[in-house]
Symmetry: C2
Subunit: 197 residues, 2 copies
């Protein structure tokens, strides 16, 4: 149950065995069926979840009902609306399982306790957010500076696993285009790029 996160914590936060154990003590395993909404806009997010198994997406919905997928998350990733979680303010996003999931959940109280037991985790959480921020900056940059086709190719190249696991409509909503247009892009891409396959 804890093998993966054990690995994650030692590798990415360089925690000692002791610290890893304390960390794990505060986690709670939850199994969630697919198509479950874990958080809706308007609610306060009460979890940070490490994905042991499964696939999740975070998304916004605009006033016309169009969804923008902010992020897909699979095994070894964390999901949460960190702003809502930390500041205890209503979220403006949705978080939904796309597959049956096995999550290790850190509640707000547990996180507080955890940090007061192992203060240097404060730093780890800061670094996690920092990495997140950096990724998002690059994504914004690419969203603005390249065509949908370029972004699509980059997406399937960088996240081959994800692009096989999630349906096209969600990928379209990640790229910020309509499903119809993504379908056309795929058709063109198959024709153009299939020399070596």
């Amino acid at each position: 149950m804890f093998e993966q996160i054990h690995d994650y914590l030692s590798r990415s936060a360089r925690l000692s065995k002791e610290e890893v154990k304390i960390f794990e003590k505060h986690l709670e395993l939850r199994k969630i069926p697919k198509k479950t909404i874990l958080l809706s806009a308007g609610e306060i997010c009460n979890f940070e979840a490490y994905i042991n198994k499964g696939c999740i997406r975070e998304y916004f919905v605009d006033r016309d009902g169009i969804e923008l997928t902010l992020q897909f998350a699979i095994e070894d990733w964390w999901v949460s609306d960190i702003t809502s979680f930390e500041d205890q303010v209503p979220s403006d996003m949705y978080i939904e399982t796309l597959e049956d999931c096995e999550l290790l959940v850190l509640t707000r109280q547990a996180k507080e306790n955890l940090i007061s037991e192992v203060p240097q985790l404060e730093r780890m959480f800061r670094l996690m957010i920092q990495r997140h921020l950096s990724k998002l900056q690059k994504r914004l940059f690419k969203t603005v500076s390249s065509t949908a086709m370029e972004q699509y190719v980059e997406f399937i190249t960088r996240y081959p696993t994800i692009s096989q696991r999630v349906s096209q409509q969600y990928i379209a909503s990640y790229l910020g285009i309509t499903p119809e247009f993504l379908s056309r892009l795929r058709a063109k891409h198959l024709k153009g790029g299939k020399v070596a396959e």
Copy 2:
């Protein structure tokens, strides 16, 4: 010299007078003329700067030489490429003064010393980044889900000061559109929206 940041620190980080003093001890005042590049892509960012006076922009440059402005910063804001600064990796952005500036600069070493003197600042820095992240998420959402016109109107409404201080070409590069197209939007906006002015 320290009035503004004094205010910032007490208000936004709820530091005690003592802590604020320690903080200020680690800052260094720098006066920079306008049109100065503070950071170029490829360099390692060695500062976090609080703006006492002036205006700065952070931007990326794509392979065609098109700039995307990530952020404008004026009095009472911080600027840095936090990823480059923290991880000591080459930056992929530029930071440039648009006006003559007066900055309170925190170097990497100073920040480390500061945090070890006042460990609870770790939390403040985390919260700063978190707010940043949250803003950026919303911006990405809007970039994708609304037209350039909507974004332009929102920009001048939300940042009236900034939109008066920076030239249109930079606003265009913030909105991710060409200067020509922004000019057309403005023309249309004046016609359409000027009933009450």
